[in-house]
């Protein structure tokens, strides 16, 4: 199984060899898990969602077009699912959460995963952004999606996305400026 290409594994899956899919999961679990974790800062919940991503990938294998990279395709599936999860949370949470930012301080990334204090601060600041800005920072700067890909996933024109991302960057900068300046000095 290990010597086979992604495409060969996918073809085996489509022909009924489920065990071939396990190899695909092994290859992409780190990527998918980090993509999901950037949206959902709780390790256990991220694990559940990441599993769900692979289930969706499995059920959509027949729709995968080898012209595109498997990593790009699977990251898009992961992104869509994370956005659905965030949307459901938004609907079930109270309006006050929305104003203050949807992530409480207890939900910020676990200590053992953060390289240093600055990274932790940056991620906390991102977590406090309003959702429509936070999501763009995550998709562009953490998960590496292009403007075109983001536009397709969010079903919005690229110009709007660009302007919103620029605004998000400025918001982040203003929030972190006092702390970053200390670091630089």
């Amino acid at each position: 199984m290990e010597g086979l290409t992604d495409q060969e594994l996918i073809e085996l899956c489509l022909n009924g060899r489920k065990d071939a899919f396990e190899e695909i999961v092994t290859r992409y679990k780190k990527l998918i898990f980090s993509v999901v974790f950037n949206f959902i800062n709780d390790k256990e919940e991220a694990s559940d969602v990441a599993q769900e991503v692979f289930i969706r990938i499995y059920n959509s294998l027949h729709r995968y077009n080898p012209k595109y990279k498997f990593s790009t395709w699977s990251v898009k599936i992961a992104t869509n699912l994370c956005l659905d999860v965030l949307r459901k949370k938004r609907i079930s949470s109270s309006p006050i959460d929305e104003i203050a930012g949807t992530v409480k301080s207890t939900d910020t990334p676990e200590e053992d995963c953060i390289k240093d204090e600055q990274s932790r601060m940056v991620r906390e600041a991102i977590a406090q952004l309003p959702e429509k800005y936070r999501v763009l920072i995550i998709m562009f700067h953490q998960n590496g999606l292009s403007y075109e890909e983001i536009s397709k996933v969010l079903n919005q024109p690229m110009t709007i996305i660009k302007n919103r991302l620029y605004r998000a960057r400025i918001m982040l900068r203003k929030k972190l400026e006092p702390y970053i300046r200390e670091e630089i000095l």
Binding site: K30, S34, K43, C113, L176, I184
Partner: protein
Amino acid sequence: MNCKLAEEYIMKFFDSELNDVENSYLKQHLEICERCRREFDTMKEIFDSLSQTMVVEPPEDFEKKVMARINSMEMTDRRIAENSFAFLYAGIALMVLTASVTVYEFLRYVDISQLVMRFETVSGFMSMLFGAIRNFIVLVSGIQKGLYHAAVAVADSFYHVFSISAGILLIVYGVFTSRRVKANNGGAR
């Protein structure tokens, strides 16, 4: 170069869309403008720390959990497929039952012997036809008048027939399906 243009170039820098000419203009401006330099440096610190790969390991048994869910998903699909045949048979049986009871109730309002007698000549046929239409109209108005009582009476008899036959069908197919599922479970190992 003014600060407004510099801000635009800074954004393009973080989009990785700055060409060489724009890059050198920006560099020159940042050397002389402290405010833009500060803003640029802050943003660079922020996005550099983001692009550092965070050490996030998925749990050890991740693949096993995914494959277990896929396997149980397919077991459920199989069971639904088997059960849907049972439901289809039950549905058809109920439809046949309803149709036959309806026909029986209908025949009670129509006198078959009269229909047969009048069929012998064409004119007889026509008068039979008109008569049938007239009877039908009477029947309909009769039903309209006595609709409530007829409905209650019919519903009563239907209800008992339905619940008994549905109960019998469900028991029969429940036994039937669980026998088949047990057999398949044994086969899957």
